[in-house]
Symmetry: D2
Subunit: 428 residues, 4 copies
């Protein structure tokens, strides 16, 4: 991350401050529709309360920048280091994750005061800073906050979408979409390069280093799998046919007993019609032309097998995506829901935005990967086990947060993220 340090040093630090303010305000803007009660709830271990998110991203700046690099900084509260530590054992034993929703105190007001306190100190620091560590860690902290903006939305959705009242987050913001046929685009195999160079404005350590990969010839679907196609899978007995499933997926499915999956998360059937819940507009009939969303890696894999295809590998995905402009349905559209492909679509569509796309690749280190030094080394590297890579960002991702080299990762059974499917196949 030297590039970003160089870039921001000196006169550039002012724009970093602007960016700091912008990202921090965006977090608050996303919270505007929330009731105080919504900030408090942790409806499953993985779905942290919004209040915790907005405290934790603040903790990140306080812990790794202000306390370490700002002489004379006065910490806001002696126990917040413990309460809002996510998983940094190097900082100390974190407060237990499944209990985050039990912290009615500090109240939202107190957490907002914490944000102000840290924002004031960060503003002072960034106004004068000429310190590479300050600049690179601030950039990291802002990207970190953007990640939590998305998580705040997915975790909130898990709360509201499981509430029998099906409350909406914002009013529906309908976009007319069209169904386009499922076509594939061919890519030639060979030695390719993926990963970040380190010359970018910012990248996470797990995107480095740029390195050669070898791919075989492959084809990639030109758009994500649609709800309509997924309904065909359901109605063809997709959830009942063991031969479509990985063994662990089938076992997981059957362990859910009466809550056995019958479709994607947030779907239900009423009077023979499929409904799904959206942050925008609450529960409504499923739009057949929109990308299927909230499927686990197991479901993505089973669907692909049913379709005679497979999931793309991480290198295949990146090779294809690197050729595409970064545009699409991001959080800025305020859809908060994936939408269908434009009628006049041509070429690879919706590779960015709408839904994170499951790959078949285990999340692991690139050849020569080095975690960040010190406590921040826990940011990414220690999670390189048991997870799959997802790519491309979603309708809850900030536009300027995504890039072709960006690696997201979740466990195969996870489905509360905006996760969908792009099919790949070997040449026919």
């Amino acid at each position: 991350m030297n590039a970003i340090a160089d870039q921001h040093k000196g006169q550039e630090s002012e724009s970093l401050l602007d960016r700091y303010v912008k990202v921090r305000r965006q977090t608050e803007a996303l919270c505007e529709p929330l009731a105080i009660e919504d900030y408090q709830v942790q409806p499953m271990d993985d779905a942290s309360p919004p209040k915790w998110h907005i405290a934790h991203v603040t903790w990140f700046f306080e812990t790794f920048i202000l306390k370490q690099l700002q002489p004379g900084y006065r910490e806001f509260h002696p126990q917040f280091e413990y309460l809002f530590n996510s998983y940094y054992n190097g900082v100390g034993q974190p407060y237990p994750r499944p209990r985050r929703g039990f912290l009615s105190r500090p109240t939202l007001d107190e957490v907002l005061a914490y944000r102000s306190h840290v924002d004031d100190a960060m503003t002072d620091l960034l106004g004068t800073a000429d310190n590479t560590d300050v600049l690179t860690r601030t950039e990291l902290g802002l990207n970190h906050e953007q990640q939590h903006q998305e998580l705040l939305l997915t975790d909130l959705k898990y709360n509201l979408g499981n509430n029998p009242l099906k409350p909406e987050y914002v009013a529906a913001n309908t976009i007319a979409t069209n169904s386009t046929p499922l076509t594939f685009r061919a890519y030639e195999g060979g030695i390719r390069e993926i990963g970040a160079t380190g010359e970018e404005a910012f990248t996470f350590d797990n995107e480095l280093p740029r390195h050669q990969v070898l791919t075989t010839d492959f084809e990639l679907a030109e758009r994500p799998v649609s709800n309509g196609e997924f309904i065909e899978f359901i109605e063809d007995g997709g959830y009942e046919r063991h031969e479509l499933w990985l063994s662990d997926g089938w076992a997981h499915l059957n362990s859910l007993h009466e809550n056995r999956w019958q479709g994607p998360l947030y779907w239900r059937v009423k009077d023979g019609q499929y409904f799904n819940y959206s942050l925008s507009g609450g529960e409504n009939p499923v739009d057949a032309s929109a990308p299927v969303c909230h499927v686990s890696g197991y479901e993505a894999d089973a669907f692909a097998r049913w379709k005679g295809c497979r999931l793309p590998t991480e290198p295949e995905w990146e090779v294809a995506a690197a050729e595409c402009a970064i545009s699409g349905n991001f959080v800025e559209s305020r859809q908060f829901h994936p939408c269908g492909t434009p009628a006049d679509a041509d070429g690879l569509q919706q590779i960015y935005g709408d839904v994170w796309e499951w790959t078949s690749s285990a999340y692991g280190p690139y050849p020569g990967f080095k975690p960040l030094a010190g406590q921040l080394g826990e940011y990414n590297g220690k999670f390189m086990a048991n997870q799959l890579v997802l790519r491309g960002g979603s309708c809850a991702t900030p536009h300027d947060h995504i890039r072709s080299t960006y690696r997201n990762f979740f466990y195969p059974p996870d489905r509360w993220q905006f996760s969908g499917i792009r099919l790949a196949r070997d040449p026919q």
Copy 2:
């Protein structure tokens, strides 16, 4: 419960309305110190959120009185019947108990509007009612609400007391107390009567019918076991000595792994000194002279064995308590914590208030017990398995809610209630 119907019919209905208003206001008064966030939290399955409590007690009046006995009543919200049903399968499948804390909606404001709506309708109804069912169910509903006032406090305490910030509910309200020696009072055995007659202003069905019991000669401690005495138990290895424990208790203890009990709930040791958490004043040094509180039935039994005593049976307790005036440290004292025996105490002390006292008696039906008819039959009777009776009320119980025949019941491992120990023994 015909007595109460007779009493309230006609001119008496005005005073029932007064009582309705008074009890409902008391619930709201107890909530005054809460932040909105505090209303939302369910820190364990058994400890429901305050917001749920205040909605559920309202649901009780709506479901069993207004919907059934008030023609033309308009229900407040079609899904509240489901959301705020505690356990009445006769009404319908209840919303799952462990998920109550996930309901950020309805918000507190909406729940308060629900309360107002129901209060208005109840006020109308009680102003004119001449219907025995209305009167008896209203009385039941008010006693039900008083039970939840206590639960609201114990559940809130579980939340705040487990928060690392140890926030207080109200400021400390210190009462100087003195330690008195542990003396026993002898009672002669024989045929005695316990249970309610049905002629009382109000009793629960589980207190009926009054019936004969046979007791042997016994002795009862003149005050509850104190913290000081319990510290002696701890320091004598009480939690490490299997021979003091029931087999199930010992197994439970060892299943808790690193969270193995070392003392009562809300206690911890710092620098060799014992501290405990109180709703009033937060965490403070343990008062050696106050009754030990927040012990499970297993701990109560183990302590008694260590002391060469035993727990009283339910009939023994009631025989002794029936002779005592109902006075003591109730919720009205606003201590919210048990306190020590007055220095000039004489005779049986603190049999009411301060702490619920574990008995050795399984919670079961009295001979000839009949549950209430209809849906309300689920109120008490179906819980007559696997629980022990506790008696006497606590510092969180409303004064006019308790009586000598009152039967409370919890599982042997439970300890989040204000539960303590009164020793009994056979004549020496």
Copy 3:
């Protein structure tokens, strides 16, 4: 237990030796139909392997008699004290119960050698002993072994009855039975005495002391509930109607998911007909006239409620049984299965043998109960929590092991014992 000591002292010790030999041989006789593999299996935590049972009963004599009271006794193996300790923490930390079935070593041959070694030493000791402790503990050891004879059969049945091959233990031994109407016998209430006097040849500590109880007038069914009656319950939706169940029972039922109980243990429906598994003869159509068996306390309670009756209390049961001769279908009949009432039955039938009868009474100490001194104090007393009393013995109980004061106890959900239902009711 001084009586038994007095009785056996001196010239009586010879007959104790005879009895020792007889009981020990009976254990071995029960094992004759077993394959070596059958000795090894522990199909659930509660159902210990036969090999463990026959080692543990031997351990009892070695640990509490030979090692403590026979100078110069040489222990058979230094680790058997650990491996075959059931739950005596006073002896040491026992080998974990759920892992008993994993001990392929010592082999059956080695365990039989252990039995011989201990039998030789016990024979020597009993041939000459004039020591009260030896005599009383030997008598306790023999009663202990008889208890394990029954457990060996029930645990074996759980193994074989859950094996898809449904292997029989012995060939069917059909007894023609008749269905008799369900009639009740009235008992007058009042002060009665129950419990053992201590003057009996042998009793367990939990039967002592004899004491007064107060019963109200009650009626007791003259025979156990039959399979035919239980089928009526099933076909009336008994397992689907929440209002028939204790809350804990209903929760337990629903926690079993796809294995939700549909009938007693070992039952299944094929082509609309009910079959059950018996140790004698394997799987056969249910005999409608035989007592229903292998029901939990929850099912017994639900059935009674459905029938407008209740379960008897422990004192009611004993008052009635004390008037009856001890005869019935015990293990000596080699039925290993309950059978119907004789056609010419008159008065209280099958109160002993056939099936253990659930009472509504929690298993607790009688007034003035004192556990045995020392390590043997763990025999009974520490289990006085969370269990219900069952009475009367079963088709797997040795005839000379049962008596009117005998208290058996299991948890309400347990149903792998030969447990059935005798109804009680208040006078009509």
Copy 4:
């Protein structure tokens, strides 16, 4: 697998019969030291009973060859198809894996009769067969049986090694070994080929197709990590230092409570000395020069990080191993335990045999992977999730079963296999 079909057709079928006999006899030879009880025990869900293994491998021949390809074959028992199905949903719902150890019936004798019955039919079939399917499936069945020979030993070891008596399987068979320094061998990166060609005598479907991979320059340790080196890791706080562990590994470790790992499986410390359990000779002091064994993928990864190294990727391992002769400490040595490197070792040592070596590669499909057609498609492909590849075989693997392309796979927490560590690193 056409190559093997071609090879065996016609005159070659005789040698396949010889091989059939040899492999089947080897299974029986491995069982010779077992007591009947040892055949029965399933000490954890993953560790099936030997009796089940020897029935299941027989089932494989019966189900996929005799029933499908041998007209007139009479099945041995109608329920064995169900009882001994491992995981082939295409054949039917298998008997639940965790309950295999509860099947005391069929007895060992009956299972041996099953083996004979199938051996007779297979002998007839192979004596005359000219059917490609018969030949290829027989070869598959024999390789399948060899896999279960290893599993039988590892599962038996889990049983005996956890028995407090620490019984040995065979007497110790000591081999003097020497400690050699840990040196690395450099490999040049580039495009390489891995995987099977399909021209081999036999390979599993998951080894196909041969394909190009791209490796960077790397170094591989010339021998496995030794016990001595692993002791250094332990004594340097390896199990206490979170920074050495993957997050999932650290969480797993801490979830084990008082059974938290302190060293490899089968190790314990007595009086400051390390002991481990071996099938040959039982419990003995750890040989510091022998390869560390019975470590999980998490421990392997943590050790590598502690040592400043990493685990090899699957392609790195295969590229290196392909140059080595297949020799080493296999099951034929009857060591049943890894042993140290020869004193005069030169070059890459012990790449085959001794211990399976964890790689950092997720077990997944090779590009263009096609599972076998039909029911046998469940053999390998459906397990391609959540597991890591291990390579090289162990001291429990038959010599002629292993090859450079052989892919074994287990979950990161698994450690009951003979699994060890070979370090890799980037060029220094």
